[in-house]
Amino acid sequence: MASYDFVFSALGLEKWCSAEQSSAPMSMADLLAKTKGTDPDAEISLWNTPFPSMDALNASCGAFPQSRDLTKGLEQGFLSIKDALSVVLDPITQPLSWFLDTALYGMLTAPWWIIIPLLLVVVQLVTKSFKLVAFVGVCLSLLAFIDYYEYAMQTLSIILVCAFLCVLIGVPIGIAMSRSNMMQRLSIPVLDMLQTLPPFVYLIPLIFLFSVTESKLYGIAIILYAIVPVIRLTNLGIRLVDKDVIEAADAFGMTDRQKLYRVQIPLALPNIMAGVNQTIMMSLAMVVIASLVSAPGLGVLVLRGIRNLELGVGLVAGLGIVILAVILDRVTKASLARINSAQKH
């Protein structure tokens, strides 16, 4: 006698319940109860009455689905649309694989004495600070000296490609959000979900959709995870542009396009750059997790450290990630500061 028999008898559904006896395999709890020899149908006191959950109701009525049917249904639902989904998604996302593979190939085949100076020149161009260039030079040399150069460059090229694509996709979405309140209302729940979903969860459906050998698998995971701040801050930045300046732009007869390119984007640039900084930091966080699905780089070493309990390898690779993070953060912040000082109010 289960707790909720009375519900089904009151509703007159006994026939439906007994007609479709659950054919699901016996659950662990049932099995345990059986081996212990306790009678599952024994009278249950009010104190021990279970919450009317799916499993509890199933105990009363065999036709009622169990909770594992829910997860199973979700899985089967996904699997049934998976093929159709990959037909659409595969070609769309194929360029991502090309970008990542090209970047990795380029970074690794070009000799170190080209790549390191090239990176330093980029740092100099973006920040105009020799101090920072020297700092980045020392950090990269250190990584190269301990023979982590290759791993660091793999991580770096994945981050650069993914962050670039995040900006390319995220800024237009942010602009669209800033222009339409409807768009903003629709996007914010999606962004909230992307931001709070545990990063491992991204990987599960992606493994089903794409082959693990393809680099776009981790590329998509990183982009989905890291694109949120650049979208949010672009939207915010454009919405925060001084209303008086916008009014002046209108009063002088600017078209919407002129207003966007000459007023809104330049004035929102400090916020957009803050978003780019966050996006880069978040892709660095995700690139480590993505090593679970074959993303190369320092994350692989961290993973090896965990798997084989190689304490030294794990720690050094972790420190390497810290160094990369510091470099990327300092460089983007320095360029942000340059933009800020160029347009003080």
Binding site: D244, V245, E247, A248, A251, F252, G253, R262, P266, Q343
Partner: protein
């Protein structure tokens, strides 16, 4: 002789709220602003505004904060859409314009100067000055000479390559004025353009504006909450209160014949000797007075006449305009004009009412 009407506002209403048209019928039926807010939760912004702004004149719209003056000026270039009424620029109904025509109006017919300057912080002073032209598609090289000309004219030689934040408030507003002038539009809208500046700089800017106006003869619509400023600049003064026009006309005329206790309160503590001019208190005659004490210009203010008379109250002056006599002015007339018209209500009540409106 009066100039042609350049901009004309007819029966303009603006109501803020969810259903302005519904609220409009209530207002037309005679509902007051406070009643409308209480019963229907709509704000009556402007109520039956009729103003003619003449070519080459400075029309000053004056009122306290909340009187709807900034709302009114934004209707002229349709930054705000009216609920009902007509706005005509040289006889063309602006409200019938489509998007393109409206853009042309804003680009080529009207320029605007803002209270908070509203310069582009990431562009140089020169680029800001040429904004109106660059919006029309000209490059910096095209408008550079024009922009430099107007920057020099407003007294900013050599500042072209600086950024707005490097300039003081007064200089930034000079850029704002230069920007409006560079657009070469015949109509200039100035929204509390000098209110954010300190008093000395404000006086400088007023002089600059009058100086430019005597040369350019633009149609200027100037918004202010400062009576002294409006009396100094206005050819035509419109006084707004809670969204309707209390009185409009020549400033001297309003000063001598205020038609409302609100305006009387307003003008009670200004320096009348400095604001009133000979022209508005003299006796119109071409006969030469006996015992003429000298000649004065019709545009002189009374303060300068008092200084000339050295305190004698029995002198009579000949009033001249361009070498011709247009009237006579006795010191007795002058002294009478210095006394503000008597308050209808008792002075203490009037003072209370004024402090209320100021705090509100």
């Amino acid at each position: 002789m009066k100039n042609d009407v350049k901009v004309s506002v007819r029966n303009l209403y603006k109501i803020f709220g969810d259903d302005p048209q519904g609220a409009l019928t209530h207002v037309r039926a005679g509902m007051s602003k406070s009643e409308l807010l209480e019963k229907h939760n709509h704000v009556l912004g402007l109520q039956d505004i009729n103003i003619d702004m003449r070519d080459g004149e400075i029309t000053v719209i004056m009122g306290l904060s909340g009187s709807g003056k900034s709302t009114l000026i934004r209707h002229l270039n349709r930054l705000i859409e009216p609920t009902a009424g007509e706005i005509e620029v040289e006889g063309n109904n602006v409200l019938a314009y489509n998007e393109n025509a409206l853009r042309t109006l804003r680009r080529e017919w009207m320029s605007m100067v803002f209270q908070k300057f509203a310069l582009l912080p990431h562009r140089t002073v020169l680029e800001n000055t040429g904004m109106a032209l660059s919006v029309r598609g000209y490059s910096v090289a095209d408008f550079e000479s024009e922009a430099i000309h107007w920057l020099n004219r407003v007294g900013l030689e050599g500042h072209g390559n600086q950024y707005p934040h490097q300039l003081s408030g007064g200089m930034q507003q000079r850029v704002g004025i230069a920007r409006a002038l560079t657009s070469n539009a015949p109509i200039m809208l100035m929204d509390e353009a000098f209110s954010a500046l300190d008093p000395l700089i404000r006086t400088d800017m007023q002089e600059l504006l009058l100086d430019l106006q005597s040369e350019l003869k633009k149609t200027i619509v100037f918004i202010t909450h400062d009576l002294d400023e409006s009396l100094k600049l206005a050819d035509n003064l419109v006084i707004l209160k809670e969204g309707y026009v209390v009185q409009q006309g020549e400033p001297q005329e309003i000063l001598l014949n205020p038609n409302d206790s609100y305006i009387k309160d307003f003008i009670s503590d200004i320096n009348r000797a400095r604001v009133l001019r000979v022209k508005s208190v003299m006796t119109h005659t071409t006969e030469k007075p006996e015992q003429c004490a000298g000649e004065v210009n019709e545009r002189d203010n009374l303060e300068s006449i008092i200084a000339r008379s050295e305190g004698h109250t029995d002198k009579v002056y000949r009033v001249m305009a361009e070498d011709r006599q247009v009237g006579t002015l006795s010191m007795k007339q002058l002294m009478k004009a210095l006394v503000p018209p008597l308050q209808e209500n008792t002075p203490s009540e009037g003072a209370d009412a004024k402090s209320e409106t100021q705090t509100a």
